[in-house]
Symmetry: C4
Subunit: 230 residues, 4 copies
């Protein structure tokens, strides 16, 4: 069971590299085995080219290392909090993909300007508040997750599968590590098009609620009609 | 005959991927056999890497599946209306290519800023009106086509081989699936250069009517001089 | 002798493709044998993938085809005028490379914002005036060259090896077809950086005359010190 | 010992090419053997494709060639001054990477807008003052270094491993040639994201001192926690 998850987590890590979201080692993907309560995550600062499934680090939900000889990603604490607070997610991906990161740096949420966005995010891609100096000075990595959870108090993480951490970069998630990676890739494309859109038309208002509904529910929920029947 | 069309449609689908217009499965190409009244279109949500000619779905002009075991592209209804209303076209391509989509999102038509544009589009690339909530709530995919047809009331689809659906993305077409794909690729390049042009010079007026005529008719119509004699 | 020139012209055509300056067939390179008074140019609208040296078309300086069964590039008339008027050049390249073309479309010359520019262009990259309707309506391709020559009345084509044709695209040249291609590639990079520079700082004044002199003459002229001794 | 350094310097030169920072021959990397007082640098204007370790040029700290038959990079004088003035560095890289160069051309320093920046640069990426006409007219290459040193009077080159030379391009450095190349690549990514950030939000203030501290010291200094224990 964990062998399968290790492979999926490695594959998610490689996918974000192949799609151009990751420079050097600036990204990490993880997955969770909910039954076992175990998280599999990329090791810290190891080159992707030579990474093997057995390099993945296994921890419990409190970050205790259960298997693996390498240090886990330095962002582990954020991943773990997301798994504890968002019970429906099975994978988390963090990157510094350049357009999404630029929106995060600018402190602006990404409005739903079109149907590509509406196909995957049911509303704006939210941006967290700045962390306070105290939050930064104490358990910073955990507090990054705290800022995300705070921002999602009235949001459904299943309908908004990603966030921009202000002054930092995006996190995305999904039901599996593969879906989390997919959402991270889509988020970067959305961020890029939103950048072009606002620089073309600063007053652009975004899609109507009707169009947001139509596209989002075409791909998600019981009545989805996209793709092949499963 | 349909075997040939299936291959052409597959090839058009692969061309838009090779040219970087398609992320994951966000695009679809189709072609029509006018004599048989049959349309060949990409299946919905199937990865391009493994797609075969036999995966293409064949429908009649009302969308009744005639051959194929997979669901057709979810945008089929728009393609079919375009084939019914534009009798001279033989192929349709829809993508979310990022610059053309950004113009569609911004709600701005693309003015003919230069000869690259004039070589292929005899006038601005038009943008549709927003669909009403009623249009979105009823037969949305068909109504996307209706919005395009409405926008082309006084336009010749042979001289303007593409459109921006507001808040959504571009459609392009041509005499064959291959020409539709070619026009989709050219449209993305035109959209990219127009983006740079307006951010360099917001007041840019575009080419003169004389230059538009000269370039358009150099490549199109009975007096075309470009390329090799056929 | 012409065999060698054919190969150089083909290679220059392939170089601008490899460097990403050309979409489909939107570009052409030529070279001249001054002793024989013969020009070798790419055929019109032929795919680059299958082009052979023997596909190149040979014409005299008035455009009379001397060898070759294919039609020459539709821009031949512009190339020929440049060869007649600029006796020191041996190669001409025309592309629709996207950033240089966007400057041409915007009608703005590219100021020397930095040393990359100063290394190759001794002053701004100039932009021609718009062609009149009469010029467009008569011998348009020749008149494109006329507009370039007019713009260079007080400029040295050896020191400014390229131009932006307003509303159209760039032309570049050099002592050989290879150098013309090289200058076209450098021009696109300069155009890209100049675009970022003016959008970062609209009031940017560009380099001093002293820096322009230093960099330009470090790479050109009798006292050049760059590269290996020859 | 010098064989190892030659290979490292060649590898650093190839890395900046692979990462897209270098057009043609517009870049150079060097390394120093502090014990021997010898610098290894790329030759001037030689194509990267065919470069071998034995093509590297070895000079002393005053630029006297000790080994090698090729001319050293024309920027050697700047590298040497950096080695003389910054005793802790072991490698220097100069490129005309397009976003960093555009910031240099615009005359603006790059503020720390996010954690990617803070991970590597402890403060803004500084920009030098313009060189005077006298400095340009005399020993220009040396004076480029002088301008850098002047700008670093109150800065620690270990904490700020790069600079923008106004109207010219970036220099980066590190403890080894490989680290200098790595920092040049990171600088380009930072520059790109900062460009998008300021065009999205011209008033963006950048990260807090607390966040700058947290990220910088997570990767640098005695208490660094990133990567694997060494």
């Amino acid at each position: 069971m964990l062998d399968q998850l290790r492979s999926e987590v490695l594959e998610a890590n490689l996918e974000i590299v192949r799609r151009g979201l990751v420079l050097y080692t600036f990204g990490n993907a993880s997955g969770i085995d909910r039954a076992a309560g175990l998280v599999v995550i990329k090791p810290s600062g190891v080159p992707y080219e030579t990474m093997k499934p057995s390099d993945m680090v296994v921890t419990d939900l409190n970050g205790k290392i259960v298997e693996g000889t390498l240090r886990p990603s330095s962002d582990l604490g954020t991943h773990l909090l997301l798994y504890r607070e968002f019970p429906a997610i099975g994978g988390v991906v963090h990157t510094h993909s350049e357009y999404a990161t630029s929106w995060a740096q600018s402190g602006r949420e990404i409005p739903p300007f079109g149907t590509t966005h509406a196909d995957y995010f049911y509303g704006p891609v939210p941006v967290t508040e700045e962390l306070t100096d105290e939050e930064i000075g104490s358990d910073y990595v955990l507090n990054t997750g705290v800022a995300i959870i705070r921002r999602f108090q009235n949001l459904d993480p299943a309908a908004v599968p990603g966030v921009l951490v202000r002054g930092h970069a995006p996190f995305a998630w999904g039901k599996t590590p593969g879906e989390a990676a997919y959402n991270a890739v889509v988020l970067e494309s959305i961020a890029r098009m939103a950048y072009f859109t606002v620089t073309l038309n600063a007053a652009c208002g975004g899609v109507s609620q009707a169009l947001l509904d139509r596209h989002y529910f075409r791909k998600h929920g019981a009545d989805a009609t996209y793709g092949q029947a499963r």
